[in-house]
Amino acid sequence: MRRAATALVALVLAVMAVVVGASAATAATETPTPAAAGQTTETTAASGSESGGLAITARVRTADGGDVEGASISVTQDGAQVATGTTDAQGSASLPVPAPGAYDVELDVDSLPESAQGLEPRSPTISTTVEEGRDRTVAFRLSEEGGGSSAGAGAGDQVLQRIATGLRFGLVIALGAIGLSLIFGTTGLTNFAHSELITLGALTTYFYTVIAGLPFLLAAAAGLVTCGVFGYLNDRVLWQPLRRRGTGLIAMMIVSIGLSLFLRYLYLYVFDGGVRTFPGYAGQGGVQVLPGVLLRPLDLWTMGLSVVVLVVVALALVKTRLGKATRAVADNPALASASGIDVDRVIRTVWVVGSALAGLSGVVLGLQQGISFQMGFQILLLVFAAVTLGGLGTAFGAVVGSLIVGLFVELSTLLIPSELQNLGALVILILILLVRPQGILGRAQRIG
């Protein structure tokens, strides 16, 4: 009992040590960009300024994610102008408002700079309500007249583009899903804190590259090592003692939810609520890969890297001794143990490798859509959907499920508004449970 308690404290301290250094340094070096990745309005509930100084932050971006500088924004209340501002290089303008209440935020379309000429917001005026102690962010998304981000392209090209971005997203999910699925397979733990491993990869990489000043690739490698070490500590300090005590699986799942909540808000505490980007990779333009398919060179590199990593993991699982042992433990821990496999060692390896893969998934995701304290949590349910779809506990199923979920999420935006894209995947998750709960590659006996 006492040992477990000291161990738990040690775990908490270890997390603090990893991230706390970032605290002062991030505050000193970085101006956070407000959180508004794609969403129309967003409250920064937890990080909103508590005393006075209420503000509405307006962001102006083009549909393909470029920030628009120099657009004039005005805030009115009941027809009376309250504040005006011009967007900065990050495409955002902070507009102070005197008191909580309802405001109209208007974008002056004629003021748009040359780079955004001919583009229009869905509506030039957004109404919003500012609550006590909470800043508001509103986002204007500019697209060509007539809606649709690529109005010029034909429907077939749109499908191709969606397939490309879907594969890109699916690979990110796959990197996160393998670890989750193997940890479930070998220990039975449904690890809700897996999302925090994803976030940790991006945050530590950001820390190493921006604050410690390492080159990006080195920083990313160091970030993955940190994730692996953290995964090892996770198992060694928390989960292994719990398994030894015979703690039930449901109890362990609730513990992982507590851990996830704790870590997520620790990240917020240290990192604050803004969305940041890795320096040097922010404004990369797309290149034509196939007719109608536009991807950034960066995306091609990360997709290639993801595929290589996934293939290596798959080969390791099939060919190496340890990989075979891992699959044996996932299949039947008791039998594996009886045939002389060191189950604890296998589980530790799975934790280290799974955490490092989750970290890689976080780095890649950070390159695609920016880094925030809850980036992992936002995709956690999609990772769960992928793992369930592929069959809980199977590594290959997780990859197949991830690609399907990624493609589904992107392709569904052809039919439903993109703000609801994640919703489709969650509905699918529930439908799978109805039709084939064991997943594509799972076996029925597992679901008991």
Binding site: T41, E50, L249, G258, L259, L261, E419, I430
Partner: protein, 329 residues
């Protein structure tokens, strides 16, 4: 450091948050404490109650009683939709499916596409007057010391605590009936109960619906007490807080959730007050913690409490360890 911190903490013991979380946890207690169902979508049941009233009154313009009926009906339908695919499966599937379903409800509520009915991410307000028109208390201050409240708060707190008392009484009554004993039997050993010829699936479904309805009552108090609904109040954190409340007081105890909610909010209010006071007095250097970070410490504390409770005292303060068969697969 002044006396107002203590006053606020004492007031939190009977405050609106305590009522809301007590009701949500009472519902969860029926599902998780007695039937062993891992419902991680309690936030959605609460949201359905809140939006039931808000949408019916402020968008459709009907009286709030209709909103209450719509909320209750919506919650039953939601429970059935959720239960049909998942209740036959192992516990952790139910957990994943319910958490996904509750996010679906929240994302729908905050989407622009349904903004005409839900107010999008800004939510709705101005629907609570029908309820406050029924207020029998004339204008003035009621109660004493830290428990003083104006006539509006007195009215909503009175209604809220009446609901808590009724639900607790009903829980006590049904859990000692044969129906309740079957439910506990399912929690302990599903196969044994099935072997006795009981329809386990139907019992689980009834528990899910019943617990959801109680959560929906909490949603009514939530929306009427705040006189506003905002979709992000119904995020997964709400459910996790509810679990902490339930495990703190003791699952499978009739009054566990109520006591748990009171302790939970008193402790949060105390730590909030003490930390803010300490920052104001300069006892905590500004580089270490700013006053906006106090709210984040609250979440970290809850996460840590949830872990430690589950590891060291899963039965909570008043629970009985034998009542909580969390070790079964």
């Amino acid at each position: 450091m002044d006396i107002s911190i203590l006053n606020n903490a004492l007031a939190a013991a009977i405050g609106l948050d305590t009522v809301i979380y007590a009701l949500a946890a009472l519902g969860l207690n029926i599902q998780f404490g007695y039937a062993g169902l891992l419902n991680f979508g309690q936030a959605a049941f609460v949201a359905i109650g809140s939006y039931g009233i808000a949408t019916i009154v402020s968008i459709a313009g009907l009286p709030f009683v209709v909103g209450i009926l719509v909320g209750l009906a919506g919650s039953v339908v939601f429970a059935l939709l959720l239960g049909i695919p998942t209740l036959r499966l192992r516990a952790d599937y139910l957990a994943i499916a319910t958490i996904a379903a509750s996010e679906v409800v929240r994302l729908l509520a905050r989407s622009n596409s349904l903004g005409a009915y839900t107010g999008g991410s800004n939510g709705l307000s101005g629907f609570a007057e029908g309820f406050y028109d029924l207020n029998p208390f004339p204008q003035g201050t009621y109660g004493f010391g830290p428990f003083a409240a104006n006539e509006r708060n007195t009215w909503i707190l009175l209604v809220g605590w009446l609901l808590v008392a009724l639900v607790a009484l009903a829980t006590w009554a049904i859990m000692r009936s044969p129906w309740g004993r079957v439910l506990k039997g399912i929690r302990e050993d599903e196969d044994a109960v099935r072997a006795l010829g009981k329809n386990v699936y139907a019992y689980k479904m009834q528990a899910l619906v019943l617990g959801g309805l109680v959560g929906t009552l909490g949603g009514f108090v939530f929306s009427l007490g705040r006189a506003a609904v905002q979709p992000d109040n119904y995020a997964t954190a709400f459910t996790f807080f509810t679990y902490t409340v339930l495990l703190l007081g003791g699952a499978a105890r009739v009054l566990g959730p109520v006591v748990g909610a009171a302790i939970f909010w008193v402790v949060l209010s105390l730590t909030d007050g003490v930390l803010r006071g300490a920052i104001q007095e300069g006892w905590i250097p500004a580089a270490l913690m700013s006053s906006s970070q106090v709210g984040q410490v609250r979440f970290m504390l809850v996460g840590l409490a949830l872990m430690l409770l589950m590891i060291y005292r899963p039965q909570g303060i008043f629970g009985d360890r034998r009542e909580l068969a969390l070790d079964g697969r």
